[in-house]
Symmetry: C2
């Protein structure tokens, strides 16, 4: 069988057709089902955007009401999942716990063995609600706080903040968080989504695919980048350092500055535009410009020095911090949003499946190498 060499990391290789997300990396365009991300960020909600991702069109009023109701009614977790969240050490990272809890939840999902389109949609509702609940509930448990019951009258964004904080969120906080969820909901074949499709393409179930995707998102080259960005801001603040000088030193040491550059975008990441604006607005209303101003200085310096643009992760760090969200919840919150896109991609993969099985270029010892008996080694 003949093989075709591809660039390392499959850069620029078209691995599948998809009708979910279109990116123009040169022009800085991101769109879901043909609709520009700027339109969705300004005018849509996470529920409506998720409907768009799953069903390929914007819902009418009745469809949106139905969708919202079903999603809210899916805010249920088997007691065994809660037991798991209580049994793990409070030092466990939320991503380890989320990955484990989602895997466990498949055991309590009646549709687990059914990969049909309809069953995948049913499971997608449950997974979307459950991922948010698991993140919020584990955070309460590890802080020794009471679990907050889900409120079916709240939107997905507001209910998450409610279950996390035990206080009804402000309109500004809800809208900011809702926009963050919209911005992160899908991004074509990013590494976690691609992992989900590789797993689903064996005709494994959607829980297996999402569990793998959560594992991929955990990596610092993917979802972990906004955590790394915030750790940098904290380190600069703790050192009382000048942000530009601090980053200049890191660059001199060949250290990676997380939150910059992107495999696909060659211009500004369109999501960064919104997150920068939200970070600035939240800073102004909080009367605390520290993180925004520090971020802005670093952004301009890295752009000038390395010709790299801030990506989605860079301003989500300060935005989430200004929303009062702990640093180690940044990546789990990414999952709270990206579950919408993962589900859309698994559904699409199962609807027209082919096993994803590339080849490797062998660069090891020549074949045939002899099997030398152990006494002669």
């Amino acid at each position: 069988m003949s093989t075709v060499a591809a660039p390392k990391g499959l850069e620029g290789i078209v691995a599948t057709n998809s009708s979910i997300c279109w990116i123009d990396g040169d022009a800085g365009v991101l769109s879901y089902r043909g609709i520009d991300i700027h339109e969705l960020a300004q005018r849509s909600t996470f529920e409506e955007t998720t409907y768009l991702l799953w069903f390929g069109k914007l819902p009418n009023a009745a469809e949106l009401a139905d969708f919202t109701k079903t999603l809210a009614e899916s805010r249920k977790l088997d007691p065994k999942i809660i037991d798991l969240l209580r049994s793990v050490p409070t030092s466990a990272t939320p991503m380890q716990v989320l990955r484990t809890a989602v895997s466990l939840s498949s055991i309590y999902d009646a549709d687990e063995a059914d990969n049909s389109h309809d069953a995948n949609v049913r499971k997608s509702f449950r997974l979307t609600s459950q991922v948010a609940m698991i993140v919020a509930i584990f955070d309460r448990i590890r802080k020794g706080k009471e679990i907050v019951e889900a409120d079916p009258t709240l939107s997905h964004a507001a209910n998450f903040l409610w279950m996390l904080n035990g206080e009804k969120p402000s309109e500004t906080a809800t809208r900011t968080f809702d926009i963050a969820l919209i911005l992160h909901a899908d991004h074509e074949l990013n590494a976690s989504t691609f992992a989900a499709r590789v797993i689903a393409a064996t005709l494994a179930d959607i829980h297996s695919a999402i569990t793998g995707a959560i594992g991929a998102l955990k990596g610092p080259l993917h979802g972990g980048a906004n955590e790394a960005t915030m750790r940098l801001l904290y380190a600069i603040d703790a050192a009382g350092a000048d942000p530009v000088e601090y980053v200049r030193q890191l660059l001199a040491e060949k250290k990676k500055i997380f939150g910059f550059g992107h495999r696909v975008y060659r211009t500004e990441d369109p999501r960064a535009t919104h997150l920068r604006r939200m970070s600035e607005e939240l800073s102004k209303s909080a009367g605390n410009m520290k993180w925004f101003e520090m971020s802005r200085k670093i952004e301009l310096f890295v752009k000038q020095e390395k010709k790299l643009n801030a990506n989605v992760d860079f301003y989500s760090a300060s935005t989430y911090t200004l929303l009062g969200i702990d640093i180690d919840l940044f990546t789990p919150i990414f999952a709270v949003s990206r579950i919408a896109g993962w589900a859309a991609h698994v559904i699409e993969q199962h609807d027209d499946n082919r096993l994803i099985r590339p080849r490797a270029e062998y660069v090891g010892p020549a074949y045939p190498s002899p099997y030398v008996p152990v006494s002669e080694r």
Copy 2:
């Protein structure tokens, strides 16, 4: 950024360099680190083969003794893992449980956050021992039997059968199972290994990668195929049908016959050669030729009708059945072996990493599609 179209499923696309496994699909050659699989199946052990996969050469006597000792000493599970195995319903599938338990075990692994080469090797020892233990212990628990303590004097293969059955296995059973473990230990960029590398390439940890790989292996187009083969044999037996006529009918109904054909091999799968022989030998020594003869008739018929060769899954079904292993443990046993290869590939990926992030060909609604307000939809 320009993109390059690839065949569906990335067929024939070289996704990475690797020095672990070389396959010549046209000639029917499989080799680990340059050594032919036939040599390894006849002369090696799972421990020695795993050393070869991880360290790139055959061990000398002292290295092999050290490796064997370390692997045996890694037969430990945190009590919380046992608690999980006891808490899930006995109806849970072993693959769901294995995927969840491996994910959970990361929380109790002191090296979890360390992706260095040495830490990855340490975690690989633990994961290899733990995957086998989890499969055996959950099977005991779901059958209401006492858990069998690991025996550090036994080989990996013998200890697994001991912990599964509570009886010291015969030499024939141990050697047969050891060979099955060698044959399944690696297969280049099969779907689960590729999933593991995609996950690891975000610099996520090895537990995340292996958890995702277990999910991929669960799919019937991958590890699930030998289960499907055995279900076919049972169905033919229960119907008292002629195997050839039964399969002829399935083919007429355009049903997939699992255990035949392979993405890479265009000739006989070299692993099938050994599994066919072991299936026949076990049948003779058991005085029960039923499954072997039925398999052989189906093999010859499918070869004649569809020009498809039996693959690794086809004769592993009857081999495992003759070893007294339950049908829903076939895929978990695949994981008990393939963890060796998964670990080798994650180590290799982390040693020279680049994010694996291909592109999709967008075939959805044209951009820009308008955002129509809900009142106008």
